[in-house]
Structures are given as C-alpha cells and as structure tokens.
C-alpha cells in the first residue's frame, strides 16, 4: 500500500544542514526521529530516540537514556555516540541550520545508551534539542565546512518510520518503511510526496483519487472540496503567517531611500488592507495578524492595542506621507522623494514558488497606487529571491513562515547574526539583540513570554516587517484512502506538515467496503485505451479505405 501526498512547494535540497523549505522539514521529520518529540496535543516533550531523561540541573544539564536496540535503517546500531557527534560537530563546524540551537550545547557519551547534554547558558528549550540527528557513519566523511553544504543527502539512512527511496526534484519524493524503526510498524509500506506546480492539478488529482491527501490546497478550492463526500478538508493552525517584508538596508544593496524612513514605513502599513486581502485570498479561512508569530504556541503572540495597530486607512497614510514631505509635485499620480526627487517606485519581488505571491503582487500594486506609490513587479523563484535578499537587491516581497514550538529560531531570524542568511528584512536592532539573548536563557516561562512580547512589539513598531495574515494549512485527505489522521496541536492543528507530523506512522489504509477503490482509475484507463484505438483507427481509416477500393479495382 502506498500513501500519496500532494504538495505545491518543491524541495530545494534534502540536506538538513542548509534546507529551509516546508516540504524539506516534512521529509526530515519523517526520516530522522528526534531525541525527544512533541506531544500531538500540547507540544510537551515526549520520548523519541530517548526513552527517558534525567534533569541534572534545570535548563543546563540533562542525561538521556536511549531506547534499547536502536539501529539506523541500514542496520548500523544507533548509539549515544551518534547523538553526541551531531551536537558537537555541528557546533564546532557551525552548521547553518543547527548553530542557533547548539551554539551553547556540548554532549558527552556516558555509555552506548546514555548521553549527557550540557548548556553553557540556561536554555529553556531543553530537554528538546531541536536538531535532526543524522547518521554519523554516513555523514562523517562530508562533515567539513567546505563540503557539508554541497552534500546532497540522498543516502536514505535514517531513524524514523520511513526513509528516502527515490527523489526527483520538482516531481516526487518516495519513502519506504524503515524496518529498523523502534515504533509500531506502519500499516503501509510506501509514502510518496508528489509535487504539483499547478495547485489546480493537485485539487483535481485529489478528487480523482490519484493522491490520498494534499497539503497547501488553494483556499479557493475549499468549497468545492467540502462538497465532495469522499474528501475531508482540514484547516490547520500552527502559527504560520505571511508577511510583506521590506528591505531595511543592512545588506550591501540598498532599498529605495524612502524605506529607511520610519514615517514612510508607517504610512505603508496603513495602506495595506490586511482584512480585505485575507478575505479575498483565503476566502475567510484566515484573519489579519499584527506582528510576526514566532511559535506554534499562540501564547507568544503579544497583544497590540487598537491605538498602536496600523489599521487600514489610506487617508491617514496619505496624511503621513504628505507631512513627511513625500509629495506628488509633478502630478503624475506618484509621489516623489522629498525635495523634488525621483518618483517612488518600489521593486516588489514576486516569488513564483510561493502561493498567492502573484495575487499579493497585484493587491500590493493596488494598495500602493491608492497612496501614490509606484510598484514594479518582477518574478523570482525561491533560489533567486534568496540571493536577492542576501544582496539587498529588492524593496519588498511577500513570503511566509511556519514557526517551531520554541520561539528562538524564529526570533533569531531578525538578529544581526542572521544577516546574509535568514534575516529577510535586512534589519537589526540593539535592544532586540539584548532581549534575544535574555529570552534564550530565561527558564521561567512567564518571564520568557514577557521578553518575547517586548521583542515582537519592537518589530511591530519599527513597521519594517509587515505581517499581514495567518496562513492556515489547508489540507485534505480522502476518506476512502487512509484513516487515523492525527492533528497537531490536537484541537485545530494540521494533520501533517506540523511540528513532528505524527500522522504518517499512525494512519492505516481504509479497508475497502466492497469493490476496488481504484475503480475510477481503471475505467479511465479503459477510456484511454478506447480513445487511442479510435484515434489510430481514424488516422489509418482514410488510407485503408482508399487502399481497399484500389485493390478492388485491380481485381475487376
């Protein structure tokens, strides 16, 4: 049996050291079991590779005991040495995706099944370590700063329920069941992720039963899918949001000078109709958001008062712009930089790999037109936009994030250390940096919440990173395919592409209630055969007919 999941974002790389796209995380979540995992209900740490752990010193030192008889999918034993090697090596070599989590950690092997992790500073995320543990015996030869980032990670050796079997970029990723996984063996043996460049095609494929489930369905298709009795639609919330990011100038390439003026940015915020966009693009499945969301746990979201909020108010935006000296002196409908400078035309980069990016480009142009600001759209794919961001060669773009449970990684993206990497606002702030370090070491949950709230208020007030709306995960599965899907978080979370995506190991094929569930496909194949035969007959027909008559004539 095979479970096929459709998705609309392609993989860039399968290497967990450098990748950052959602489908990549999904792959690693399945292939690499964590030392600890998250509860499907409330994100509390649960046993993973470690069956238990001892808190030696809160936030500073933990000793984990691994399950007995763990092995990698290729049969090599999985030992404490693998755990320690991952933590220590990634820290020493500053692996891109790992360093934020392990910079303060060191690990020591006690025996085959026991490992102690210590932190140099109090670390609230412990006992969760927050990295993917890769097999040392495979990765050691490439673990060098010069080569680690170009490793393709197609080895297919892992510790989770399924491991990589085949991969075609922009097409599909196939995983097979891992016979050496410690958990209950899944009820099916093959898991395929199929990439659709066209979301419509994915909707149709789901309806036709070509795929069993799908992630990131277009909001526009929800009504249609809900009407289908064989399909269950899930709108999963796990803190994901979208933003219009501005270039705040910390990179080499400089933005339009107006963007460096906070008054201009405030006006920009007032010009954006978040509610309207959410309604039109999400068909009511989403709602506006005030500032960035850094955790799947909603408690981390600060309260922004009505007075502080940048509500949609083009009149106010125009007032601010007038007051700040951005006037349209030549009357061409577009404001100029103060002192009769050039027309203000923002270079908006449209990421062609991101859903709704085109539509947001259209809307953004419209919103800006209303406040007298020009927009020039240009298209990039994920890769190119990354380069553009790092080079600072843009003014604005639309993108989205899905946070982890621990807020630190998300918060780290706006620190100075991430400039030239994940800092997609090209922004840094001294106070934010200080608070970032403090929250990282604050072990009291309430105090940490306050620190994070303060950081997010700074982001909000700086008006440089316009979080526009939550981006719920619109997912669906066919009820005649697999059952036993698990939401994470349990109340309103998604069924997969979540923090640890527990569904894959738990779902099982629906026992067919009479008849072959594949009937539609078969009749379709039959029709294809008929049509092809008919085509061949037609094309040969004319020729044969004339032939026949000719030979009849010759017999006369």
């Amino acid at each position: 049996m095979t479970l096929i999941v459709g998705l609309t974002q392609p993989w860039e790389t399968l290497n967990p050291v450098i990748g950052f796209a959602v489908p990549e995380y999904e792959f690693w979540n399945i292939q690499y079991e964590g030392l600890t995992t998250f509860s499907a209900n409330d994100f509390t740490p649960q046993p993973g590779l470690a069956e238990s752990w001892v808190e030696n010193e809160v936030g500073l030192s933990y000793t984990y005991t691994l399950r007995e008889g763990l092995a990698w999918s290729d049969g090599t034993p999985l030992t404490a040495e693998d755990i320690a090697w991952n933590i220590n090596t990634s820290r020493d070599q500053e692996w891109a995706n790992y360093i934020a989590s392990v910079a303060n950690l060191s690990a020591e092997v006690v025996d085959e099944r026991t490992v102690t992790v210590t932190s140099s500073t109090p670390d609230p995320k412990l006992p969760s370590v927050g990295i993917y543990f890769v097999p040392k015996h495979i990765w050691e030869p490439v673990a060098d700063p010069a080569t680690i980032e170009s490793y393709e990670a197609l080895d297919g050796v892992g510790s989770g329920p399924f491991v990589l079997d085949g991969y075609k970029s922009e097409e599909s990723l196939t995983m097979v069941v891992n016979e050496n996984w410690h958990g209950t063996k899944p009820a099916y043996d093959r898991l395929i992720f199929r990439y659709f460049s066209n979301p419509d095609a994915m909707v149709a494929a789901l309806q036709r039963g070509e795929i069993n489930a799908a992630h990131e369905l277009p909001a526009a298709s929800v009504a249609q899918l809900e009407a289908d009795p064989d399909i269950e639609v899930i709108t999963g919330v796990q803190g994901g949001f979208s933003e219009i990011a501005l270039n705040l100038g910390a990179a080499e390439g400089q933005p339009n000078p107006a963007l460096l003026d906070i008054e201009f940015r405030k006006a920009l915020n007032h010009g954006i109709d978040k509610a309207g966009g959410a309604e039109d693009l999400w068909f009511g499945l989403s709602e506006p958001i005030d500032t960035i969301s850094v955790s799947a746990n909603p408690a981390f979201m600060p309260e922004i008062s009505d007075a502080e909020r940048f509500d949609y108010n083009p009149a106010k935006a125009n007032e601010i712009l007038d007051a700040a000296g951005y006037l349209d002196t030549d009357g061409d409908g577009t404001r100029e930089l103060p002192g009769g400078g050039e027309n203000i035309v923002l270079r908006h980069a449209v990421n062609t790999d991101v859903d709704l990016a085109n539509e947001v480009g259209e809307l953004f142009s419209g919103w800006m037109r209303e406040i007298g600001i020009g927009v020039e759209l240009s298209s990039y794919d994920q890769d190119q936009i990354f380069t553009a961001i790092v080079d600072g060669d843009y003014d604005t773009f639309y993108w989205g994030w899905v946070p982890f449970v621990d807020p630190t990684p998300m918060l780290s993206y706006w620190t100075e250390a991430e400039l030239g990497n994940f800092n997609d606002a090209n922004w840094s702030d001294q106070r934010f940096e200080e608070l970032y370090v403090q929250q990282q070491q604050e072990l009291d949950p309430a105090a940490r919440l306050d620190l994070v709230h303060e950081m997010l208020r700074i982001v909000h007030d700086q008006a440089g990173y316009i979080a526009v709306w939550y981006s719920p995960d619109i997912q669906a599965y066919r009820t005649d395919g697999f059952e036993g899907w698990v939401r994470q978080p349990a109340a309103d979370g998604p069924i997969f592409f979540s923090q640890s995506s527990p569904s894959y190991a738990l779902v099982s094929p629906v026992v067919a209630a009479g008849g072959n569930g594949d009937g539609g496909g078969l009749s379709g194949v039959a029709i294809a055969a008929i049509v092809v035969a008919a085509l061949a007959a037609i094309s040969a027909g004319g020729y044969l007919a004339s032939r026949k008559r000719a030979s009849a004539d010759e017999r006369e």
């Binding site: 095979t2 479970l3 096929i4 392609p10 860039e12 450098i18 700063p145 010069a146 980032e149 170009s150 393709e152 075609k168 970029s169 922009e170 599909s172 395929i192 199929r194 659709f196 460049s197 066209n198 419509d200 095609a201 149709a204 494929a205 309806q207 036709r208 070509e210 795929i211 062609t352 790999d353 298209s379 990039y380 794919d381 890769d383 190119q384 990354f386 380069t387 790092v390 080079d391 030239g420 990497n421 594949d518 496909g521 379709g524 194949v525 039959a526 029709i527 294809a528 055969a529 049509v531 092809v532 085509l535 037609i538 094309s539 004319g542 020729y543 004339s546 008559r549 000719a550 004539d553």
Partner: protein, 321 residues
C-alpha cells in the same frame, strides 16, 4: 553520395559551432560568474570558489574560457542546474524520453492525419470536404496550442473527468506490462490530442497546396489516359510527388519535437524538456536554460541534415549520382 553527405555534415557542423559560440556569448554576457550564483551568497571559502572556477573553466581570458567551454560542452558537461543541483545533462537526459514519447507521437499522428486531410481537401478542391477540412485545420492552426489544451482539459478532465489533469503516470499504483502502457496512454491522451490538433493544420495546408501544384502536371493526365481510377491517379502519381516538400517539412518539424511543446507540457505537467524549460524560465535557472537551448538547437540541426539526406533519397532528381 558520400561527397554529398559529407558536404551536408560539414555545413551542419558549422551551424552547430555557430550555435555554440552564440550560446557562449549570450549566457556569459548575462551571467558573468556562475559559481558565485551557485552558492547564493553563502559564506563559502575563497579557495573553494577558486577551485570551482577552475573546474568550470571560468578563469583566464575570454578565449581560454571559450576553449574550456567548448571542451566541457563536447563532453556533455553543461554545468549544474540551480534548481535541482544535478548536472544539467543528467537532468536533461532524464527528460528526453517523456518528451519524445509525447511530442513524437503527436508529430507522427499529426503528420499522418494532416497529410490525409490535405490530400482529400486538395484533390477535391472547392468541395464541401475541402471547405470543412481547410477551415477546421485553419482554426486549429490559428489558436494558441495551450488554449486548445485548456479547452480539452475543461471538457475531458473537469466537466467529464475521464482523463487525468496532468502528469505522466499514476503514482503509487504499481502497474506492470499492459497496465503500465495503458496508464501511460491514459495520461498521454489529452496532451497528445492537443498537440496533434495543433500541428496537423500545417501539414494539411502544406500538403493541400503542394498537391494543387502537382495537379496541373501532365503526367497525371497521362495516368488518367492510361485508364487508372481517379484514386489510383491520386495515390500512385499525385501524392508521391506532392509529398516531397511535406516530407522535408515533417523531418524539420521532427527536429522541433524536443522543443515543440513548452506551453503544452507546462499545461499538462508533463515532465519533459518543455516543462523543464518553463520551470527554468521562472528561476531563471540559466545553466539549465543554456543546456536546453543547446540540446534543442542540436536536435533541429541534426533533423535538418536528415531532411536534406532524406529528400535526396526520395527525389531522384536531387539524388546525387
């Protein structure tokens, strides 16, 4: 004959060299340093960048760079795709067969149907059959192929969901033998029909006008005088002569098979070279685009050569002694 062929081969080689030169300058102008692009600004040690530049033949003067490029290209070393990070040639090679299947089949079907239609229309010029064939094929010829595909998609995958909306195989279902072939045909039907309809217009129009050219010839009157049936006159004497230019057209068109279906492959998510092109456009994935362009050009040049040689075999007047 050998002299004739070697002369033609020489001409084709020259054209290929021109394409190589053109390719080199076109892409080197827009993309002076592919290596820096490959790492997307990540912190990579300078030594490694230098090493890669040497590997890619990017150091030294333009001329040395060109020789390096030529050497690498001739070994099918076309660099690395930005998107898949695979060698461009590997990526392209894996996509040739799907395209050949889809577009090749459509090319054959459209040539067969288009020629038959053109012959029927031309032989009975001015008849109802001529009128309907000519206007239908003109209409197919005048619409964007992908729009025709959209209409077929709406009709036969949405309103009547008989065919899949895209892709090449049904994933996850292990077909074997006949099942696999039927599954492939099932996916092939709509895109193939689209391309067949889109292409057949040209064949019908050219065949018809070529047949009209032939129809005034005296040897047809002679054939009629010999006592041949009308259909025999047509099939034995008129069609073989009328098809000469059509054969050339077909051979040249087959050269465009590889590059022919960019929009239609995109529409039907057919994982071939056409879709690879439109994917590469969005990046833009320049190394991939460069490789695809080279492969497309080479295919056209080779088939042009084939068309010349084939024509020489078919038409005794051109055939060298």
């Amino acid at each position: 004959m050998a002299q004739f062929i070697s002369k033609k081969v020489l001409g084709s080689t020259l054209t290929l060299v021109f394409v190589l030169v053109f390719n080199f300058f076109l892409f080197r102008v827009v993309q002076p340093d592919p290596v820096a692009n490959l790492f997307r600004g990540r912190n990579v040690p300078q030594a490694r960048l230098d090493q890669m530049r040497t590997d890619f033949g990017l150091d030294g003067s333009r001329l040395t760079q060109f020789w390096a490029y030529l050497r690498e290209t001739l070994q099918l070393n076309l660099g690395f795709s930005y998107q898949s990070r695979q060698p461009v040639w590997d990526d392209i090679a894996s996509k040739i067969w799907p395209t050949v299947q889809l577009v090749g089949l459509a090319a054959i079907l459209s040539a067969a149907i288009g020629i038959i239609g053109g012959v029927i229309a031309g032989w009975r010029r001015g008849s109802a059959a001529d009128y309907s064939i000519t206007s239908t094929t003109m209409a197919f010829y005048s619409m964007p192929d992908f729009w025709l595909g959209m209409l077929l998609l709406v009709a036969f995958a949405v309103v009547f969901p008989w065919f899949p909306v895209g892709g090449m195989t049904e994933l996850g279902v292990e077909h074997s033998g006949v099942g696999a072939i039927l599954d492939r045909l099932h996916h092939l039907a709509l895109p193939c029909l689209t391309l067949t309809l889109a292409y057949l217009g040209e064949y019908a129009i050219v065949t018809r006008s070529s047949l009209l050219d032939v129809m005034g010839e005296e040897y047809l009157t002679l054939a009629q005088a010999k006592g041949l049936r009308d259909i025999q006159v047509r099939n034995r004497h008129a069609v073989p002569n009328a098809l000469l230019p059509v054969v050339t057209l077909a051979a040249i068109n087959f050269g465009f098979v590889l590059s022919g279906a960019i929009a239609v492959e995109t529409l039907f998510s057919w994982p071939g070279l056409g879709k690879a092109t439109s994917d590469a456009v969005l990046g833009p994935d320049l190394p991939m685009l460069q490789g695809l362009f080279l492969v497309f050009s080479a295919a056209v040049i080779v088939f042009n050569l084939a068309a010349d040689v084939l024509y020489a075999f078919l038409d005794p007047r051109v055939r060298p002694a």
